[in-house]
């Protein structure tokens, strides 16, 4: 790391980034018309944009100042934070590309270079970025290290392996056995030992000594952020719900990509306060909430606005989702006094690494606690671990809870997969059934 690089980064962090953010404030973006079906927007949205822009902006000045790690969303990032890595989340970046409806462009770059169109679009977008340097975030720093965990899917492992090979950089892999029945003692031991094994590797790579006290502080912060995020989601049990799940898809970003940093915790304290206030004042995310829905699977990033408006205009609000819940669900296992085994339990039992019996139970609970009237499942071409089993989950929940449900076939970030006509027809039929069922 060079001194000049460090100084430049520090300058940008303390002065450049705040100045740029206030400049952005002045430069008011032309606002797109918002449907009157929506309630007042969250004030915290502005802060969210700020911290995410700042994160991507500062990333440009990181090379030479800090080591950069590309990390998967389910990896125990706290360990990297203890070694002061600047972390980039390719999944997040791919979602951003998807939300800007540029996913197909990036995917095509990867496909033209030999990657199959049948691979997860987050991976194809990222590989497209890696091959072309293109990004809507200005510029992303190249990784010095890759850190991945297969607790969300095996795909990330193949994908990171591909980057490691292409860029000839090291990959640290946290191998997380799938919970087919329940986590065994051997699983926990294996996971904890892998984390311990990583310490000397990271010490050697960074030239820094691991500081347990510092690590515990980071872990505590991470735990608090996840817990606060959990409380925010719980507040959506209120009627009317203070947010829509489409808001939550956005507000999820800090707990995924800035977990363990003070900025994430500060952010969620702010959001919790605002959401709590809205609940107390009875302010809903949509003006006339008559039906409450659950969303299953990752967002369709390029159609968030369309879907939010479609449902809001029919007085339907998504109040809960298995996806947003994933970063809060297992935090209860974390114990700062027993970091390694408790991290094994926290990271090892997240929804995508857990069996479908668990998922069914969780969805049942969410449907009950959030007063859900109907369910929309996004069967995504990209994600096998999220999508395989959805047909039977739907069947079980519909039969048991008499819950109207619909499955839409789409993709998370490759907009070529979206079929407007077909999906609209399906959704309209679903809404009719929902209205009939509730009336009946």
């Amino acid at each position: 790391m060079s001194l000049v690089g460090k100084l430049k980064y520090q300058f940008m962090k303390d002065i450049g980034a705040p100045a740029l953010m206030s400049l952005k404030d002045l430069k008011q973006h032309r606002k797109r018309p918002v449907s009157p079906a929506f309630g007042p927007p969250l004030k915290t949205n502005k802060r969210l944009k700020e911290i995410l822009s700042r994160h991507y902006f500062l990333a440009r000045y990181v090379p030479g100042a800090k080591q950069v790690a590309w990390v998967t969303s389910g990896a125990p990032v706290e360990l990297l934070r203890a070694f002061d890595f600047y972390t980039i989340y390719p999944e997040n970046h791919s979602a951003l590309v998807g939300a800007k409806k540029q996913g197909a462009d990036y995917c095509t770059i990867a496909e033209n270079d030999g990657f199959s169109q049948d691979l997860c679009s987050y991976a194809r977008i990222d590989l497209g970025h890696m091959l072309s340097g293109k990004t809507p975030a200005g510029k992303l720093p190249k990784p010095d290290l890759l850190f991945c965990s297969n607790n969300i899917c095996q795909t990330v492992l193949y994908w990171y392996k591909a980057i490691a090979h292409e860029l000839d950089i090291p990959l640290i892999h946290f191998d997380v056995p799938f919970v087919a029945v329940e986590q065994s003692e051997a699983d926990v031991r294996y996971l904890a030992q892998q984390l311990l094994d990583m310490i000397p590797i990271l010490e050697q790579f960074t030239g820094k000594v691991f500081d347990l006290k510092q690590f515990e502080i980071i872990l505590k912060r991470s735990q608090e952020s996840s817990q606060t995020w959990g409380k925010i989601l719980e507040l959506m049990q209120a009627k009317p719900a203070p947010m829509t799940i489409f808001d939550a898809f956005g507000h999820l970003a800090p707990v995924v990509s800035l977990r363990g940093l003070p900025v994430a915790q500060d952010y969620y304290d702010l959001l919790l306060k605002e959401v709590d206030e809205r609940v107390n004042k009875g302010i809903g995310a949509i003006t006339n909430e008559r039906y409450r829905l659950i969303w299953d699977n990752i967002a369709v990033w390029y159609q968030v606005r369309y879907l939010a408006t479609f449902f809001a205009e029919r007085n339907m609000n998504f109040v809960t989702a298995t996806y947003t819940n994933a970063w809060a669900e297992t935090t209860g296992y974390l114990d700062i006094k027993d970091p390694w085994s408790s991290m094994a339990k926290t990271y090892g039992q997240i929804i995508l690494n857990n069996n479908l019996k668990h998922r069914l139970g969780l969805m049942r609970k969410m449907i009950k606690n959030f007063g859900v009237d109907g369910m929309v499942m996004h069967s995504t071409r990209s994600c096998k671990p999220y999508s395989v089993g959805q047909f039977d989950l739907r069947k079980a929940l519909s039969a048991e809870l008499k819950l109207p449900a619909v499955i839409i076939d789409a993709d998370i970030a490759d907009e070529r997969v979206w079929s407007q006509q077909q999906i609209q027809t399906r959704l309209e039929a679903f809404c009719e059934t929902l209205e009939d069922t509730t009336l009946g």
């Binding site: 270079d113 030999g114 990657f115 199959s116 049948d118 691979l119 997860c120 991976a123 297969n150 899917c153 095996q154 795909t155 492992l157 193949y158 994908w159 392996k161 591909a162 490691a164 090979h165 892999h173 191998d175 056995p177 799938f178 087919a180 029945v181 065994s184 051997a186 031991r189 294996y190 030992q193 892998q194 094994d197 069996n355 479908l356 019996k357 069914l360 069967s379 071409r381 096998k384 671990p385 999508s387 395989v388 089993g389 959805q390 047909f391 039977d392 989950l393 069947k395 079980a396 076939d409």
Partner: protein
């Protein structure tokens, strides 16, 4: 010479043999043998996919779909449950889907295959996995007889050794077997009892010298070999597949010969970590490429045929790198995509013919 799979398993079931349906791909077969369980592997059962479509999306690979279709039929020849080794995301979810949502009259077992690179921690964990699997099986099938496990390991070791010999003989053109015959032999291990399989392997004659001089030698890579009609078509074109990098083939046999088993669990662990690099175990790409190149040069092939199963993520990620490297090294290659349907399409025929023509030009040029 090779017993028909369906008849053989039916006969075995009638004789009271415990038979477990095992999905792809890696599992400690010796442990099942020691419990007197015959693993009958389920890779690509024939027939139409009908009922499985109601449970799985269109973008799921045909191995998973066919596997589920087979399970839904509740075949009488599977009487000791199903085992789902952890191979990929789709099979991982299928296991819990069958067990926890769809249901079957048979118990469902799972076995995790560590994806981390080999080291002390991974090794120790694999030993624990074996121990846990033993305990699970014991609850259903009674206590494990250690002597039986030892005998199973010895038998497994003999099969591995014989397999290595036959593999080398195939490379040296010392086997008088057509392409379909060779792969029928390989795949008989998916359902024969180990002693029957060993007998079969021992019956294969290894000639003293090359039985023919093939100028069209290919290496086959992928999950499964192509359908028999494609293999026969290759014979028609005088193409011999002399080596394979198939998950259902050589990727399930250790790279080198192991020492005679002393402690069964240690032996099974060593064996697992001595398997060749494989996409489903997330092996390092450098190792995978190196292994493939080594096979290409040792078996003196003229080209590589990739048989890619539609929607198979593990293979598709690696495929791009393997292809790129081979192209850089001017190794001719052809990639076929399969949905595991019977027969050979006109398009595949044309592509294979064009590939062989190109191969001939390279060889003669």
């Amino acid at each position: 010479m090779i017993p028909n799979r369906k008849k053989y398993l039916k006969q075995q079931a009638q004789n009271g043999q415990k038979i477990m349906g095992v999905l792809p791909a890696l599992y400690p077969r010796e442990l099942l043998w020691a419990f007197d369980i015959l693993p009958a592997e389920i890779w690509d059962p024939p027939g139409d996919i009908l009922r499985a479509n109601a449970h799985l999306q269109a973008t799921i690979c045909p191995i998973v779909k066919r596997g589920l279709e087979f399970i839904l039929k509740e075949s009488a020849s599977v009487n000791a449950g199903y085992l789902f080794p952890h191979t990929c995301d789709s099979l991982q979810n299928l296991a819990t889907q069958v067990k926890d949502l769809i249901g079957t009259s048979q118990p469902v077992y799972t076995f995790y295959n560590p994806k981390a690179q080999f080291n002390k921690t991974t090794r120790r964990y694999y030993l624990d996995l074996l121990q846990d699997f033993q305990t699970t099986l014991e609850t259903k099938f009674g206590p494990l007889n250690r002597a039986k496990l030892m005998a199973a390991c010895e038998l497994g070791s003999k099969i591995d050794i014989r397999w290595l010999t036959l593999q080398n003989a195939r490379r040296a053109d010392q086997l008088e077997l057509t392409n379909p015959e060779y792969f029928q032999l390989v795949r008989a291990g998916e359902y024969l009892k180990p002693e029957d399989y060993l007998t079969l392997l021992n019956q294969v004659e290894v000639q003293a010298g090359p039985v023919h001089q093939s100028n069209r030698r290919l290496l086959l890579s992928g999950i499964l070999p192509p359908h028999e009609e494609t293999l026969s078509f290759l014979d028609e074109l005088s193409v011999t597949i002399v080596a394979d990098d198939l998950l259902s083939g050589s990727r399930r046999f250790p790279i080198t010969q192991l020492d005679t088993p002393v402690d069964p669990f240690e032996y099974l662990t060593d064996r697992h970590f001595l398997l060749p690099p494989c996409s489903t175990r997330a092996s390092n790409l450098k190792e995978r490429i190196h292994h493939l190149q080594k096979m290409i040069s040792e078996s003196q092939v003229h080209g590589v045929l990739f048989n890619i199963i539609k929607f198979c993520e593990p293979e598709l990620f690696d495929h791009r790198f393997l292809v790129k490297t081979l192209k850089q090294n001017r190794v001719p290659l052809l990639s076929l995509e399969t949905e595991l349907l019977p027969g050979i399409s006109g398009q595949d025929r044309t592509r294979i013919e064009a590939f062989i023509e190109m191969l001939d030009e390279q060889v003669s040029g």
